[in-house]
């Protein structure tokens, strides 16, 4: 996590500072900083998700103090790295589609090129990770009776690791196969549209693909959030991880009120700033905008 944090440091600073000194080396250094700040978190968040599917070695002590018993390097295992690769390529794909909407000329051509490459890689890696989960990774199931309305206590249940358990939800409710379907379908359509020079449609496609990819893992794991490989009963499920009813109610209302407001003003901001960014525009605003 600290790698993510330190990488994120470079992001707000990078955007603001990269044009503040007119030396190409200064600009290049900050651009590399922005590259790291974008790539490392994208990769690590995927790695984290991969580890969740595998289960993480941790347990709770009796006073509910969580104790992690693995090492940092164990988190960088092959499956987790593949998941990281899915996440990284997925975000590059999506970002490239957006860049196509906002630019023209040379940058547009490069963005399209990147979209085609990374979109293909994402679909391949996602399919690969899917096969890996089906063939080689055991999921977790709760073996005791769960009372979802009880006060959360992660130690009050029993859990077993069973091969193929991550497919359980899909077998129970076959409609859920639509979720990985959306990942493949959205991704394929986005590739097609990027190829056909239709960036807006491609952007919508890669957005659907993102929902599909993240949703696929979420559906597979439900109700688990963080399974424990070393002490399965310490695993955190959604019912163990909730806040109190009152806090949840307050957050429900806060989100209900503020999320639409946030979406409204963010959309307005995007609308104000919409349109292609051209080299002429940048030259005209050389001093004022930064």
């Amino acid at each position: 996590m600290l790698a993510v944090l330190w990488a994120l440091f470079l992001r707000p600073v990078g955007f603001d500072y990269r044009s503040k000194v007119a030396d190409p080396r200064w600009r290049t250094a900050w651009d590399w900083g922005l590259f790291v700040a974008g790539a490392v978190p994208a990769l690590i968040f995927g790695v984290a998700f991969g580890n969740l599917l595998l289960g993480v070695p941790f347990h709770f002590e009796d006073n509910l103090m969580p104790v992690y018993t693995g090492s940092f390097w164990a988190l960088l295992n092959p499956f987790a790295l593949l998941a990281g690769f899915v996440s990284l390529t997925m975000l590059i794909f999506h970002g490239a589609n957006y860049l196509m909407i906002r630019t023209d000329g040379d940058i547009y051509a490069r963005a399209r090129h990147a979209a085609l490459i990374f979109g293909t890689l994402m679909l391949a890696a996602f399919a690969g990770a899917g096969v890996w989960v089906v063939c080689d990774i055991s999921g977790y199931v709760i073996t005791s009776v769960v009372d979802p309305s009880a006060l959360p206590n992660p130690l009050a249940k029993t859990v077993m690791q069973i091969s193929g358990a991550w497919l359980g939800n899909y077998h129970k409710l076959p409609l859920l196969w639509l979720v990985p379907g959306a990942a493949f379908g959205g991704g394929a359509l986005a590739l097609l549209f990027a190829w056909k020079h239709k960036p807006t449609a491609a952007f919508v496609g890669s957005a659907i693909a993102e929902l599909g990819v993240i949703g696929t893992a979420a559906v597979a794991m439900f109700p688990f959030i963080m399974p424990s490989s070393s002490d399965p009963r310490s695993s955190l499920t959604v019912w163990d991880s909730v806040s109190s009813r009152l806090t949840l109610e307050i957050m429900f209302w806060a989100a209900l009120i503020f999320t639409p407001i946030v979406i409204a003003y963010t959309s307005w901001a995007y609308k104000v700033m919409s349109g292609k960014i051209t080299t002429d525009y940048i030259k005209a605003h050389d001093r004022s905008a930064y």
Binding site: L5, R11, Y17, L64, L151, L246, M251, F258, V262, R287
Partner: protein, 527 residues
Amino acid sequence: MITQEVVDLSRLQFAATALYHFLFVPLTLGLSFLLAIMETVFVMTGREIYRDMVKFWGKLFGINFALGVTTGITMEFQFGTNWAYYSHYVGDIFGAPLAIEGLMAFFLESTFIGLFFFGWDKLSKRQHLTITYLTAIGSNLSAVWILIANGWMQNPVGAEFSYVTMRMELTSFWDVVFNPAAQAKFVHTVSAGYVTGSMFVLGISSWYLLKNRHVEFAKRSFRIAAAFGFAAACSVIVLGDESGYAVTEHQKTKLAALEGMWKTEAAPASFTLFAIPDDDKRENHAEVKIPYALGLIATRSTDKVLPGIDQLEAQAAERIGRGIVAVKALERLRKDGSDTEARAAFETHKSDLGFGLLLRKYSADVAAATPQMIAQAARDSIPKVAPMFWTFRVMVALGFSFLLLFALSFWHSAKNTFHERRWLLRWAVWWIPLPWLASEMGWFVAEYGRQPWSIYGVLPTHLSTSTISATSLYGSLAGFLFFYTGLLIVEMFLMFKYARLGPASLGTGRYEGEPDYRPARQGARHV
């Protein structure tokens, strides 16, 4: 295993990163409103020089803002990385204000800061002015929610411990929001931010005036900063007093330590103006006291007694005794939830649970604690006196010096003589860094003074950490040191560079120092 070293390193890391973060926050709080004021003047008068002021001070605002955001991310990360048990224990209460802060304030401020910089040509004057106000309101709202969270750590109201979930659970959200400790803290902190922003503009403008550069620009900036700063300096002192009153009510140990009250005095207690507190001998040397003053300020009465350290320690020892019963009853309840006898004992003594936990520092089994351990834990319940006593006094002295400087600046700007008073201008330049010093000291008093608790009276700091090794903490500390030093050097470099350039950095051709600068005719006004 959690050792004392892990606890100390975690505290050091949090303190260092939080104080570093607060190098950038006050300027954001203050400058955002100054920008809004300048832009209001621009929209009302239509004079271009005011827009240039917004743009130039906005540039410096941006340099600072980027690091404020950056270092703010660290704070939220640390709850998870270094304070896992704390997060588990109080997440139910602490989480909501922080989440609402994100939804309500942080998104607002970070969306509109983009439009502030890039929207000049795309928005009408009024629209852009609205954006500037929303950015300012966003950053101040952000402070509201964060200080509500912090205020709850100082005075944990509206929550109750649950032995099933082993954490504090919310019982009243409104008690948390309208916590008097949080409200007093919020107004004191934001007015400190306004003082910082005003001092920044005042000082840099004075520097231009001393160098006889950008005179019209600097004079207008100086006037706005002097007026806003004067109001802010008044309120920071008045509201600081309010904050102190909240401390008297809710944190008697903090008050006793920062006033060096070893012994309880008859009401109204005297105020110690100067002393050399001795934490080993538990007494003050070379005291200078003002009779009755403290009692009047702190209790706003002549008859309420302020407990001294002797009395507070005795109370703590009693509460530790009851806390032991609570801890033992809790252990039995964890083993067998249907143990009615244990439940009864727990319910009776639950308010002292935290005091029982203080003993965990010395003995894993609190029932086996010796009388010496109890005496030591009671002693721990009072923060160290000398550092509290001094930081508090330096902070207050600085606060009054700001008031004096702003009062004189305001007076001379009303008489339109400030640009000839070189001593005043020099004073303003030299005083630029001091609001930061005062803010950092204020936070030291607030947070060091909360020790030994992370949640006052509820959860001891030494139980709040994560189960990580001292080695990894040294590693992350080194990382922070490396990144933060680098970022600070870059930030200061850019700040100095742009402050020296002044409005010439805008490239409008209207200010000296630019290649295409043409001085305006004598007596001509800026359009």
